[in-house]
């Protein structure tokens, strides 16, 4: 079976090449067929692999030696095990749906840009696959930066608009900052162990070689990488700006797959983290903080995609909370469910935007329920899922994380729940403003609003189904023994950590209580939100105070500019204009100027007067005699000097 592995990334790569090179000649339909077909093909292969893994465990298949120096050896190898196969499914599956969706969504583009779009998208899937399939950190890093590249290209897809380009650059650079951490961690591993292959790093023998400081440092650095990729505090600001890209892209890259790479990476190296409690605490705290912080911002955003973006950041925070408290399964579980419903939300938003002719401000929407029923229904389901209403998928995954975090510290739990409440609030604020109430847009908009084509609705429906039933793979133990099939599936990956981490099981009664309580609170919050915004008018008072602060995202971007960007620019200018020109180059030229000045002075010695010449000669002779008499002292002087 493992000889099929290389096919998985191969198909998207081929799709990329075909679409990229033939983008001028091929028709749109052909392009979309190729693009989506490639992903579909690798989805099929992934399915085969998945069942293969389910049946008889993971396997590593090496293609060739990527780098082989005598410091270390890095094979270009793929590792397909429970974790990666699960991600394969998510990536290719959702990827396919989004490709399908895009073929309709992007239909207005000129052929060659259409082709370019699909090429990028395929390339992204390819890199993402490298990321999750790589059998060592270097291959993962290749995919890691590859997805960064694609996100850069796709955010800046409409490159005529310079703001989009800036957003793209911001995303790439911020990712780069994280990547540096990742890279240093890899160097550290290579330095200490001489290998970066999971199979070798995670052996007890090698782990024993690492001092606890090493492990803490490595995990910290890896986590820095994760911050960049998965948009955690302080490196999260690029994600909201990344919404400049086409909506399907946001759905695929900035919701479902790429941003979860950080979670994947930490889950992949879970053992290291379990061995580094300090880092775990950090991860948990950062995650939680991000979750709350992003949620607060999301409360007051008016751009439909921005809301979703911040909610993504917040949900990612939950996942890191899960990782931090050692609920690796929960984190991965949440990745999966979140992929379903967040992709669904974005696609829904996309279909709305598409219908509204690229109007993204929810204050100008409303009452779309009757115009586009499918979108509305699926969107509602997704909202329920993310809000965490049982038995939708979000409930199970989020609950699992929160429960685990309660085990570590109740404080985590309460803050987490608070975040969940906010989630429920802003999601239903969004839902209400968009679909309920009466239409607040212009007339021709209202006239044109229509349900989208099948290529767009089918993915919506599929995803809706998934986000409704997706949670059932992870039913908590309290409901039924061994019901948590995901946990059993992933058990081999986290076995080691599970051994190390101590398990604190809650009383079933208390767990029921927590579930019930949180659910109740959420429902109340939903009702409140719906009522609050049902009667919303475009003419509402300007925000003030805290809400203004929230609307402006706590002014974090401005803060970064003031603290980091501008000083750096100033420094660069100082170097360029002062140090370089006057300082170093000035010094170099100064030598030359000194020479010519000396020349101008020395030639005055040549006065043209024979008398002076002879005078100098005589004096020189006198000096010679002096030298001759005092030779010893002079020699000693020289010896002192040199």
């Amino acid at each position: 079976m493992s000889k099929l592995v290389f096919l998985v990334p191969l198909f998207p790569l081929l799709g990329f090449l075909v679409n990229g090179l033939g983008r001028k000649s091929m028709s749109k339909s052909l392009v979309s067929v190729v693009g989506s077909g490639a992903i579909l093909a690798s989805f099929v292969v992934s399915l085969l692999l998945f069942f293969d893994v389910k049946a008889n465990g993971g396997a590593v298949s090496t293609l060739f030696n990527f780098i082989d120096v005598d410091g270390f050896k890095i094979p270009f190898a793929f590792q397909v095990d429970q974790l990666s196969s699960l991600f394969l499914l998510i990536i290719t599956g959702i990827g396919f749906l989004i490709h399908l969706y895009s073929s309709a969504y992007m239909h207005e583009e000129e052929p060659q840009h259409f082709g370019r779009y699909f090429a990028y998208l395929n390339l992204f899937v390819f890199s993402m696959l490298l990321l999750v399939m790589g059998a060592n950190y270097v291959i993962m890093f290749i995919g890691w930066e590859g997805v960064g590249l694609c996100s850069y290209l796709l955010i800046g897809f409409w490159f005529k608009n310079n703001n989009y380009n800036y957003a793209a650059r911001k995303a790439f650079v911020m990712n780069r900052i994280g990547d540096l951490g990742f890279l240093l961690a890899v160097f550290w591993l290579l330095f200490k162990l001489g290998t970066a292959t999971y199979g070798e790093v995670f052996t007890a023998a090698n782990l024993a070689k690492l001092s606890s400081f090493d492990i803490t440092a490595i995990t910290m650095l890896l986590f820095v990488g994760a911050m960049g990729k998965s948009a955690q505090i302080p490196l999260y600001t690029w994600l909201p700006d990344a919404m400049a890209g086409p909506t399907p892209v946001s759905a695929l890259i900035h919701a479902a797959t790429m941003v979860t790479a950080g979670i994947y990476m930490i889950a992949r190296s879970n053992i290291l983290y379990t061995m580094a409690p300090a880092t775990q605490t950090l991860v948990a705290v950062i995650g939680l903080a991000t979750a709350i912080f992003a949620a607060t911002i999301a409360l007051k955003q008016n751009d439909i995609k921005k809301v979703l973006a911040y909610s993504t950041v917040s949900q990612l925070g939950y996942m890191f909370l899960g990782l931090g408290v050692g609920a690796y399964t929960g984190a991965v579980f949440h990745v999966m469910t979140h992929a379903f419903f967040k992709a669904l939300l974005f696609l829904g938003a996309g279909s709305v935007i598409h219908a509204m002719h690229h109007e993204q401000d929810i204050r100008k929407m409303g009452g779309l329920k009757k115009h586009m029923p499918v979108t509305h229904l699926t969107f509602l389901l997704a909202c329920l899922a993310i809000a965490g209403i049982p038995p939708f998928s979000g409930f199970f995954s989020k609950d699992e994380i929160l429960t685990a975090s309660y085990g570590v510290s109740p404080l985590y739990y309460y803050i987490g729940v608070a975040g969940a409440l906010m989630t429920a609030f802003y999601m239903f604020r969004l839902y209400t403003l968009t679909f309920l109430g009466k239409f607040r847009g212009t007339h021709e908009q209202e006239h044109h609003v229509h349900e989208s084509r099948w290529q767009m609705t089918v993915p919506l429906i599929v995803l809706a189904i998934l986000s409704v039933v997706g949670g059932l793979v992870g039913i908590p133990e309290v409901f039924a023994e061994h019901a948590h099939s995901l946990e059993h599936f992933l058990a081999p990956i986290f076995a080691e950590s599970a051994k190390m981490a101590e398990h604190h099981h809650l009383e079933a009664s208390q767990e029921y209580l927590m579930m019930g309580g949180s659910t109740l609170a959420i429902i109340i919050m939903i009702v409140f939100a719906v009522n609050r915004y049902k009667k919303y008018q475009a003419t509402e008072a300007e925000n003030a105070g805290v809400s203004k602060l929230l609307e402006n995202k706590w002014y974090i971007d401005e803060l970064y500019d003031a603290v980091i960007v501008n000083p750096l620019n100033a420094l660069a200018g100082f170097f360029k204009n002062i140090i370089e020109k006057s300082g170093i180059d000035g010094l170099v030229n100064g030598v030359g100027r000194m020479v010519s000045y000396g020349s101008r002075q020395l030639r005055l010695l040549q006065s043209g007067q024979v008398g002076n010449y002879i005078l100098i000669m005589v004096l020189a002779m006198v000096v010679f005699f002096l030298i001759w008499f005092n030779d010893n002292t002079i020699v000693q002087l020289f010896n002192k000097l040199f």
């Binding site: 005055l604 006065s607 043209g608 007067q609 024979v610 008398g611 002879i614 005078l615 005589v618």
Partner: protein, 112 residues
């Protein structure tokens, strides 16, 4: 007569010549001072030759020719001096023809 006397005396003459070269501006006088230096040298040479001659006499009898080379050298110096004078005066005269002056301070077309 101790040799030091001659040494100091000739060195004095020599230095006077140098001082003359340095202080006078008339090319001819400067040249004369050079001649003065040469004469000081001649005298010193003769003195030395006589000095060495005495040593020679002490060493190998009355037939000794020691120190004679010194006097011959003086002879050659005179010869050379004569030649130099002829050329030098010719040059000075030529100079005088073109610029009606022999003042060396006016020799400053070439400088720097």
């Amino acid at each position: 007569m101790p040799i030091q006397y001659y040494i100091y005396f000739c060195l004095t003459l020599f230095s006077i010549g140098i001082v003359g070269v340095l202080t006078r501006r008339n090319a001819i006088v400067v040249f004369m001072c050079v001649e003065l230096m040469l004469n000081a040298v001649n005298l010193l040479l003769v003195a030395f030759s006589k000095m060495h001659h005495q040593v020679g006499l002490g060493a190998d009898g009355a037939a000794s020719q020691a120190g004679i080379d010194g006097q011959l050298f003086v002879f050659f110096i005179m010869v050379v001096a004569a030649a130099e004078v002829s050329v030098g005066l010719a040059i000075i005269v030529m100079m005088y023809r073109n610029t009606h002056s022999v003042d060396i301070n006016f020799l400053n077309r070439l400088k720097n």
